[in-house]
């Protein structure tokens, strides 16, 4: 490893960091005296440009990953394949959340907000590519620390502070678990490289010999389960979604999820490709080697618990943000099935990526609608959405499309994501367990229609209490309509995104 290589491969992260500093400089230096709206717009613009440049800089990356040294074939940071797709997704979604930021007024610190978002996104880019435990941990911390700050960003709101504190405490604990698990892995295998670790586990007698591996896997799953908000590590999600300012919540719900699932894809991909080059010989075993330990059992348990609890708890909510949090838990459950039953071919990783990217986009849109409604009514309760179709028909239409997509109604993109995901699982193995899980997931998404319809019912069916029109910031409106249009178009022509993801 030399520093030139390191620089070239971390170019997008570097671009984001520079953009973050630039946003600070512009906001605190150049437009300091300007009106808040102006400052927010400028800072967001800088951030969006930064994301754009970062996407462009992805094409400047070398074609092979960064290795540890001249003689080593082990990869520290990967490139290409699902990694690049996930990174572009992270950058695009970050850009969209920044655009939504232009319409909000929860803070006077526009430059700082954008800077923190960009730095967090840089952490997301890192974990999407990381193949080394230490890099994974650093990336996760970079991402998470930013998220804690973003959650607390509405300084005048007590809820924001409270939820940030909860998020931070949960996050800190789970990071400790994760690190503890990593340290066990290192202790068992003597390496911090994922590939090396997995190879050691499969080649040595460590695989079955040590209960320490089980402990390590349990701890790691707990740490990662927190990131994706899987039951029983989900407790932070409803509070955070409820307390965080809307653009920050959108960021947490989308970008952080994409990054975390990219990490899970990375671990799972390495696990099934253990015996590929640069290992000694390609696999002679018929079955694809997995991570070992209780990895799969734990993932299946988490997935089942998340689907069931997420969907059932969502039924009882009266706050749309909390509803979205529980639905996010449920969606994470669906994706975890595919992580548990992971294919050797890129089929599974593509399906998960497809799901998480479209889900992220849809959730951002949903939070965008919530933020507009909240500004007008001061609440995110169901009743705040009463008569939305009269107060702002366009916004109601966007909400209709996004929520139906989340419920998985064709021809919207959420349906394709689900179909794609479940088909990938069943394609790998049509055994009893995966089939039961998929059947449960489909049944649970039937449950989910109920609570999504509860919100849509308020927007379209029930009479309005207050019929004054709701005005949305023009940028917000354009972004929301674009998202809704994308959800429809990608749903009608699903091959577009599929081919795009498979093209890397």
């Amino acid at each position: 490893m030399n520093y030139a290589d390191l620089f070239r491969i971390t170019l997008p992260e570097t671009v984001l960091e520079i953009a973050a500093l630039f946003a600070l400089i512009v906001d605190l230096g150049l437009v300091r005296k300007a009106a808040l709206q102006m400052r927010v717009a400028v800072a967001a613009l800088v951030g969006v440009i930064g994301c754009g440049v970062a996407i462009w800089s992805l094409s400047m990356q070398p074609t092979i990953g960064l290795s540890y040294g001249a003689g080593s074939k082990l990869i520290l940071l990967g490139v290409g394949g699902y990694i690049t797709a996930a990174q572009i997704g992270i950058l695009l979604l970050t850009g969209v959340t920044l655009l939504l930021f232009t319409g909000s007024v929860f803070t006077r610190h526009a430059g700082e907000y954008v800077a923190v978002v960009l730095m967090s996104a840089a952490g997301g880019l890192l974990i999407a590519a990381a193949q080394d435990l230490l890099v994974i941990f650093i990336g996760l911390e970079l991402l998470s620390l930013g998220l804690y700050i973003l959650t607390a960003f509405a300084k005048s709101s007590a809820k924001s502070a409270e939820s940030a504190m909860k998020y931070y405490l949960f996050g800190g604990t789970s990071a400790a678990f994760l690190l503890f698990g990593f340290s066990y892995l290192y202790g068992i295998t003597g390496s911090t490289n994922l590939h090396e670790i997995l190879l050691q586990l499969h080649q040595g007698e460590l695989y079955q010999a040590t209960p320490l591996l089980n402990v390590a896997v349990v701890l790691i799953i707990a740490g990662l389960g927190f990131k994706v908000a899987a039951v029983p590590f989900h407790l932070w999600a409803p509070d955070t979604y409820e307390g965080a300012p809307a653009p920050a919540a959108a960021f947490i719900a989308s970008v952080s999820k994409v990054a975390s699932f990219a990490l899970l894809i990375g671990i799972a991909t390495t696990a099934v490709h253990v015996f590929d080059a640069p290992g000694p010989s390609p696999t002679e075993q018929g079955a694809h080697p997995g991570f070992g330990g209780p990895w799969m059992v734990l993932l299946v348990t988490l997935a089942t618990a998340s689907m069931v609890l997420g969907n059932l708890a969502a039924l009882a909510q009266i706050s749309v943000r909390r509803l979205l949090a529980y639905s996010a838990i449920a969606h994470a459950g669906y994706m975890l099935i595919a992580v548990a039953f992971f294919s050797y071919s890129p089929l599974s990783s593509n399906a998960i990526l497809y799901y998480i990217l479209t889900y992220g986009l849809t959730t951002i849109g949903a939070f965008g609608v919530i933020s507009v409604v909240e500004r007008a009514t001061g609440s995110d309760r169901f009743d705040a959405f009463l008569g939305l179709h009269k107060r702002n028909p366009l916004l109601a239409g966007v909400l209709l499309v996004l929520f139906l997509s989340l419920a998985g109604i064709p021809p919207l993109v959420g349906f394709w994501a689900k179909f794609n995901l479940f088909a990938a699982v069943l394609n790998l193995s049509a055994g009893v367990v995966p089939f039961t899980l998929v059947a449960l997931a489909v049944a649970m998404s039937a449950v989910s229609l109920y609570y999504y319809l509860q919100v849509l019912k308020r927007a379209y069916v029930m009479p309005a209490v207050d019929e004054t029109p709701i005005k949305a910031h023009p940028v917000t409106l354009v972004v929301l309509v674009t998202i809704a249009a994308a959800v429809v178009v990608l749903g009608c022509v699903p091959a577009l995104l599929q081919n795009w993801i498979a093209g890397f």
Binding site: L404, I409, P410, P411, F415, W416, F419, N420, F422, A423, L426, N427, A430, F435, V438, A439, V442, A443, S445, A446, L449, Y450, L453, K457, Y460, V461, P494, A495, Q498, N499, A502
Partner: protein, 502 residues
């Protein structure tokens, strides 16, 4: 030509949604034009397709990586049901001429529903069929929840959830069939020829069949039907009974029986005399026929009578499917058409002609209103519709139910005997409803008697007359000359039975 029915409906829905509010007149005429054009396409496709087998309309790859095609095709069964949809759509719009509340949205949802229904009948790709099937769910919810009456939000949500649970079962079946066949295609034809293992068909068939049959109102999953029908606005209940329930029955036939013919094979053992899924579903269909008719006999709400009668009549369709012989299956398809027309007419009379004027559907109140004298058109329309519904010769219901009964006799004679009892009860409840709603000359009690004389119920308008005439004449035409449809249905049924499916 037939494919245009789909595109026209969705384009119409989009236009209606974009139409500015307050232009109710424009919205109505636009919807009527779209529906009439759709009907023309349907009739054109029907006439063109006479004497032809299955013809592919469009076949382009949709999701190449998964082998999903946008495959529209039509055989005799599809053509007949598309024709029914066209008729029901036009009639429904004629009977919702008085919708004043959010008119353009009403027709937007209405046309979107119609488009989805056309799509289901024309899809020959399981996946595409499923997509259209789900598209039809959402507009139903809004049509009922926004424009409905009695307990509309409850009825709408119940209907949406029942439909969605049914379609979830179908989706599981679809995923299972797709991954089991390994044919890398979701085309119904390819899946039918994929040689799905018999043991797989044995469990997948009931899953998919029940999933679709929920929407066809099969007992004991029928409870959405009466509440949904009653809650729905007139046009929506016409569509629900007229075409949406047919979606379910069509799915049972096309997908359930078409893809998994061995699912109907005997199990090799029997439980309480039931030796196969065929026996089970035939029994459920029979229970539906009798139960629906008996419950209809006990209702005090006029619309509930029609709602339960739908359950009973759809039982005939399902029984016809379970006969697995040509005459029974042809009868089932004809019964779908016939019930679609007749139930549409009955709901129109109850909902539009009577309820919108009297604002009550309770027999106890209708009895004192002398409707036979004050609304003679409605009364006589109901007499005709009631006769058609009872299965009097000369109307389409007679031919259809006769064929189903003959088919059932060939399969198992006791099915016919039991279903026959259902017909007798059918006469009873129709007669009772007719008598109590229109011809009961009970004198109003002093409290009921309005002090200022009877309020004017309003004259019957031209859209109502046209609608009644359209549906009545259709039923009569098919009843008098059933070959007009049977010639198209029979070859398709024969092909479906012979081809091990498709």
């Amino acid at each position: 030509m037939l494919a245009w029915t789909i595109y026209l409906s969705f384009a119409g829905a989009l236009l209606e949604a974009l139409l500015s509010k307050g232009k109710a007149g424009v919205a109505r005429w636009l919807a009527l034009c779209v529906a009439v054009l759709g009907l023309f396409c349907a009739v054109g496709g029907f006439v063109q397709g006479m004497g032809q087998g299955r013809s592919v309309i469009v076949d382009v790859p949709w999701v190449p990586s998964m082998g999903i095609h946008y495959l529209l095709a039509a055989d005799g069964i599809s053509r007949v049901l598309v024709l029914l949809t066209g008729l029901a759509a036009v009639a429904g719009i004629l009977f919702s001429w008085n919708v004043e509340h959010r008119t353009n949205e009403f027709f937007a949802f209405y046309l979107a529903l119609i488009g989805g229904v056309y799509g289901v009948f024309l899809s020959f790709d399981f996946f595409l069929l499923f997509v259209f099937y789900e598209i039809a769910i959402v507009p139903k919810y809004f049509l009922i929840a926004i424009w409905g009456s009695t307990r509309r939000e409850y009825g709408a949500m119940k209907l949406a959830l029942y439909s969605f649970v049914g379609s979830a079962m179908v989706l599981i079946g679809l995923l299972a069939a797709y991954s089991t066949s390994g044919s890398h295609s979701t085309s119904l034809i390819a899946l039918a020829h994929a040689g799905l293992p018999v043991s797989f068909q044995m469990w997948c068939f009931p899953l998919v069949f029940i999933g679709f049959a929920i929407l066809a109102g099969m007992w004991p999953f029928h409870t959405w039907a009466p509440t949904g029908h009653v809650a729905a606005p007139t046009a929506a209940s016409m569509l629900l009974a007229g075409v949406v329930m047919k979606l379910g029955a069509y799915g049972c036939l096309r997908v359930g029986i078409g893809l998994f013919p061995h699912g109907l094979d005997p199990w090799g053992w029997s439980f309480l005399g039931l030796g196969s899924w065929r026996d089970v579903f035939a029994l459920l269909a029979l229970i539906g026929i009798i139960y629906g008719a008996l419950v209809a006999l006990a209702q005090t709400d006029f619309k509930f009578v029609i709602g339960y009668s739908s359950v009973s009549h759809m039982g005939f369709v399902l029984l016809g499917l379970m006969t697995l012989n040509q005459i029974g299956l042809a009868g089932a398809v004809l019964q779908m058409f016939s019930h679609g027309v007749i139930a549409g007419l009955l709901f129109a009379i109850v909902g539009r002609l009577v309820y919108d004027r009297t604002h009550t559907r309770q027999f106890a109140e209708l009895e004192s209103m002398h409707l036979a004298r004050r609304l003679p058109f409605a009364a006589w329309a109901f007499v005709i519709a009631g006769m058609a519904s009872m299965g009097l010769p000369g109307f389409s219901g007679f031919v259809a139910e006769l064929q189903v009964l003959i088919g059932a006799w060939i399969a198992k004679p006791w099915w016919t005997v039991t279903a026959g009892i259902g017909i007798v009860i059918g006469v009873a409840y129709t007669w009772r409803a007719l008598q109590r709603a229109f011809f009961a000359d009970r004198l109003p009690t002093p409290e009921e008697h309005p002090k200022t004389g009877w309020p004017d119920l309003g004259a019957i308008t031209w859209p109502e007359m046209t609608g009644v005439a359209l549906l009545t004449l259709t039923s009569l035409a098919v009843g008098l000359y059933p070959r007009i449809l049977l010639d198209t249905i029979e070859p398709a049924v024969k092909a479906l039975l012979a081809g091990g499916g498709q």
